[in-house]
Symmetry: C2
Subunit: 361 residues, 2 copies
Amino acid sequence: MKLEILPVLGIGHVSEGDDLAALIATAAPWLRDGDVLVVTSKIVSKAEGRLVDIPADGPERQAARDEVLTAETARVVARRGATRIVQTHHGFVMAAAGIDASNVDKTRLVLLPKDPDASARALRAALRERYDRNVAVIVSDTMGRPWRNGLTDVALGVAGMDAIRDHRGETDPYGNELTLTEMAVVDELAGAGELIKGKIDQVPVAVIRGYLGATRDDDGAGAAVLVRDAAQDLFSLGTAEARAAGLAAGAVLADGPGAEPADPGAVRRAIDAVAQAVAPGTVFTLVDEDAYPGLAATVTGWPSRATRLILGSPPTPVSAQDLVRFGADLHRLRIALAVEGVPSLALSPPAASTASAALAV
Amino acid sequence: MKLEILPVLGIGHVSEGDDLAALIATAAPWLRDGDVLVVTSKIVSKAEGRLVDIPADGPERQAARDEVLTAETARVVARRGATRIVQTHHGFVMAAAGIDASNVDKTRLVLLPKDPDASARALRAALRERYDRNVAVIVSDTMGRPWRNGLTDVALGVAGMDAIRDHRGETDPYGNELTLTEMAVVDELAGAGELIKGKIDQVPVAVIRGYLGATRDDDGAGAAVLVRDAAQDLFSLGTAEARAAGLAAGAVLADGPGAEPADPGAVRRAIDAVAQAVAPGTVFTLVDEDAYPGLAATVTGWPSRATRLILGSPPTPVSAQDLVRFGADLHRLRIALAVEGVPSLALSPPAASTASAALAV
């Protein structure tokens, strides 16, 4: 039992319209059923004509490049300086949408294949139909990742095997059910292929032989299953971008107390959080119906669902300027409450109170 | 030219104090100079006694587990429900700090090796000194990653080869200098090893044979070079955590105009951003010294560096409650300005103006 990683030598330059299946079958007549073919996405893109003409240099080059990047971008995930990390229309999160200016004329850019799973399926079908080889095909590219320096090759597309090896429901020899169950084996295979392909050695295809259960008769669900939905992702936005979005949310904070009365501990933490930022002498007090009988009836606009109020008073004596400052401080408190997950609504204070303003929470 | 990935069979259970070098050399007498050994971190941890006793079940088990996690955590990166993604004291960002309850008795947890690079060096030295084999050693573990479903194996420690293959300064056949230059080859090797090791097959060690330039005579800089400093990372915090931090920043927004007068376009965007959130009829106007001669002299507390003001007026007629609301709206605007990178300072308005408040920006 062993795996072998073999380079496919002699493929040379690939141009638009080239027949990849013929190039590979000719260069690797030794290809066998059950082999996994790892194909660098760049030659797939070139064969498919996914190239854009751009000026060789000058500001026009940068402008043209920016335009191409915008077209390839579904969503900007993070920026720093000239670096833009985006989610592509395929769903991949990559620097510069995977657009590449290496291993191509200076006047062209290489885009990712339009549909790498479809590319993998087409290549697999051609090898099977015209060369009688039943292989799995992975279309690979190089990606960076958060938290770890260095890049690795991963799969953009796959046909003829499952992208993920699923251990769900299996138990280890100690009787524990396995929890880390889903291995992205096609990414590991793509990385393994890179080890022999290198970057400038003109070896755009590697073959992995001996991987058990590599091929399935149908094409399978492709590498699309590796794309995590942004809504499910704990890192769907860059830290700076998410921080800015959070700050911006405070500027347009909406009114409204929640369906449940606020947790007094959360309110206390919010009041503490703004204590140093508000005008000295400002007082915020949490009261509720029990402590302040008849409260609800006395408050204009009292929302029936809320049963707690924060009464606020600016330092005395109170000038018009103090009231403006107090309003700002009240908004600080509303934001601190929102951080604690407590929605709030600004109200006129109860008629019987000496407070200058109240928040329903 | 090819790579081979070979399983090391027959290692069996590993216990505290076991001699890993002896176990591996006995199980793989065919080991050769230049081979890369990929060793699952779990057997390294077990041999090194990185185990913690915990109750087999009940709430005590969860409490003990939480305590262990806290001890292994340098910094919480993201949470969702029971999931905690943390940065360990090594600098790795991993779910649950890499603590594992699989492939071990139900009453024990396995922690990561204390210093995986040191573990790799020690194993390498033992194989060289006692068994006369000059190999590179990778200590591997399974990690998740943002944006892509499925897990892959990566390197926690390495000795005897470089973690990164650096193509800096090389040019491709078209004369373009390579930009994607640093490949994390030890991560690709760790993933390649996983392909043959599997999860429950009791194959904790794989050998990769034929990787060119694998071994160096000294140990090299280890896998520590793969750890990206959080300050350099665009994804150092979870999106929800960063958003909450940004929101919280608005509650304690500090005073102070910047060293440069604000960009009028940025101020305009900020005013537009809050237009729907402020009281109807509220007016914010950006003025500067040129448009308002003698302004600086008339403003109490005018900061000498700022040359622009935003004058704000609530809708008229103005009651005490309106002034409070206006203050809140002024703080909304200050936050929107901060989003645009424009610091601000709340001031009394110029005596000659009809504004109720002013921001220096």
